[in-house]
């Protein structure tokens, strides 16, 4: 092990090898009476568990973890939004999960060094030209998967192959999809915002090379399920869509907020003060 990057490679190699291998399916046995009883018992237990799950869409404790409820230390550690804040800001997370969303929990379960990390919430926010966009909330543990929960992270995950958005609640839309594939601007929007308006512009000079404006330079998009989406024509390689210069939120109560900073994220009451928030202008009717 020589330099930093060799040591990172070493850690990555170890982490890869610690990934939980899929459990091989056991051979099918001939049915017996005792087997039938066991099956029925297991079936009943599963039924009860499913009923409990549908009544309480609560965090799942990884197997082997302590039984006592875990403290959410997000607030005192100022790491990110608490689960309560995420729930308070995104109606999508508050609705009951569908059967498909429950099934998708497995898809988003992450193998870790110690035990699988199970997302606490999986919700399908929308389908854009065949791309499924999920809100997935993971607990962030202090020590791998064994320590207390120190924050929650909501990932926006689009099933478009080359899209992956960890922990983003960005106000400015980002582009999902890819060359020759369905493409769209996408933005996460908290409750209370009815419409968004995006004004696009390409940078001038050399940095504007390859920049492509969408068909509408000023797009007005209605929000559904905390998601604002604007489908786009696919681009050719070597080009990319322009970022908006200005984003405006129109709220249900008639107020509007104008944002001019690309790095700004959806604000949460107890979140730490992020840099680059100076250019926010708030307008009230």
């Amino acid at each position: 092990v020589r330099d930093y990057f060799d040591r990172v490679e070493h850690e990555l190699r170890l982490a890869t090898e610690r990934r939980v291998a899929p459990v091989p399916q056991s051979r099918r046995k001939r049915p017996t009476w005792s087997g039938a009883v066991v099956t029925l018992s297991v079936g009943a237990a599963l039924l009860i568990a499913l009923l409990a799950l549908s009544l309480h869409d609560h965090a799942r404790q990884p197997a082997g973890s302590p039984k006592q409820p875990q403290r959410d230390l997000s607030v005192e550690r100022h790491i990110g939004p608490t689960l309560r804040e995420l729930m308070a800001n995104f109606a999508l997370l508050r609705r009951s999960p569908t059967a498909a969303e429950r099934a998708a929990v497995r898809t988003f379960t992450v193998s870790t060094a110690r035990q699988p990390e199970v997302p606490e919430y999986v919700r399908l926010a929308g389908v854009v030209d065949g791309i499924r966009v999920y809100f997935v909330v993971y607990p962030v543990f202090r020590h791998g998967a064994s320590g207390p929960v120190v924050a929650h992270q909501m990932s926006v995950i689009a099933s478009a192959g080359n899209t992956y958005a960890p922990g983003n609640y960005l106000i400015f839309p980002t582009v999902i999809g890819g060359f020759g594939k369905p493409t769209a601007y996408l933005s996460v929007v908290p409750d209370g915002v009815r419409d968004v308006r995006w004004r696009f512009a390409c940078p001038t000079g050399p940095s504007g090379g390859g920049c492509h404006l969408p068909p509408e330079r000023l797009a007005h998009v209605t929000v559904h399920d905390n998601l604002a989406v604007l489908p786009l024509p696919a681009l050719r390689p070597g080009t990319h869509y322009a970022s908006p210069a200005v984003v405006t939120w129109y709220r249900i109560d008639g107020s509007r907020t104008v944002f001019t900073n690309q790095d700004e994220a959806v604000p949460f009451p107890s979140a730490p003060a992020w840099p680059y928030q100076r250019s926010v202008k708030r307008h009230h009717p």
Binding site: T112, F141, A165, V175, S207
Partner: protein, 184 residues
């Protein structure tokens, strides 16, 4: 093996496969990080977090091209935005997958610059042949325009034009790789 095959093998716990994937893309991610942040420390930290995230998500990778470069850059861009927002590069993913702390020293910081240079050279190789030969001859080998014109069988002004266009294209690629991309 292409990237998709390496990531599939990694998802099954093949550490060697992920190490190959890591080495294949390390220079471009470090180069991206250095250009975007201007900080060698941040570039090194960002690269480690990007590859940890790639490992965490490798079983969800869907092949679009033979190379997973666009996918990796998407992760890097998100990590970058996240780090700007928070004022530091997060290590949440590394913690989740059980990384031990890896510290940087001065020699490592020099290595960051070396890797970023490799990335820039790789971009030169992607230029059209005429521009690549002209840029390599003039900028990297520091040869005279007249000498290159004789060797290439064209006028000096044509060589100058090829160098100029090649450099402009390189500049655009470097800028594009920071600001553009197709990821969320």
């Amino acid at each position: 093996m292409n990237d998709a095959e390496l990531l599939t093998a990694s998802a099954r716990g093949d550490g060697d496969a992920f190490a190959v994937f890591y080495r294949r893309h390390l220079a471009e991610i470090v180069g991206y990080g250095l250009r975007a942040t201007g900080s060698r420390e941040a570039a090194a930290d960002l690269a480690a977090e990007v590859f940890a995230s790639a490992l965490e998500a490798c079983d969800r990778y869907e092949q679009v091209y033979d190379s997973a470069s666009a996918w990796l850059h998407g992760i890097a861009r998100n990590k970058l935005l996240d780090s700007r927002r928070r004022g530091r590069v997060e290590d949440a993913t590394r913690q989740r997958i059980g990384f031990q702390p890896v510290l940087l020293d001065d020699r490592d910081l020099e290595r960051v610059v070396e890797l970023a240079s490799q990335d820039a050279l790789a971009l030169v190789d992607e230029l059209p042949t005429e521009q690549r030969v002209a840029v390599r001859g003039r900028v990297l080998a520091e040869r005279d325009y007249a000498e290159l014109a004789t060797e290439l069988g064209c006028s000096e002004s044509v060589v100058r034009q090829r160098v100029s266009r090649g450099l402009a294209r390189l500049r655009a690629r470097l800028t594009e790789s920071i600001g553009g991309g197709t990821s969320t």
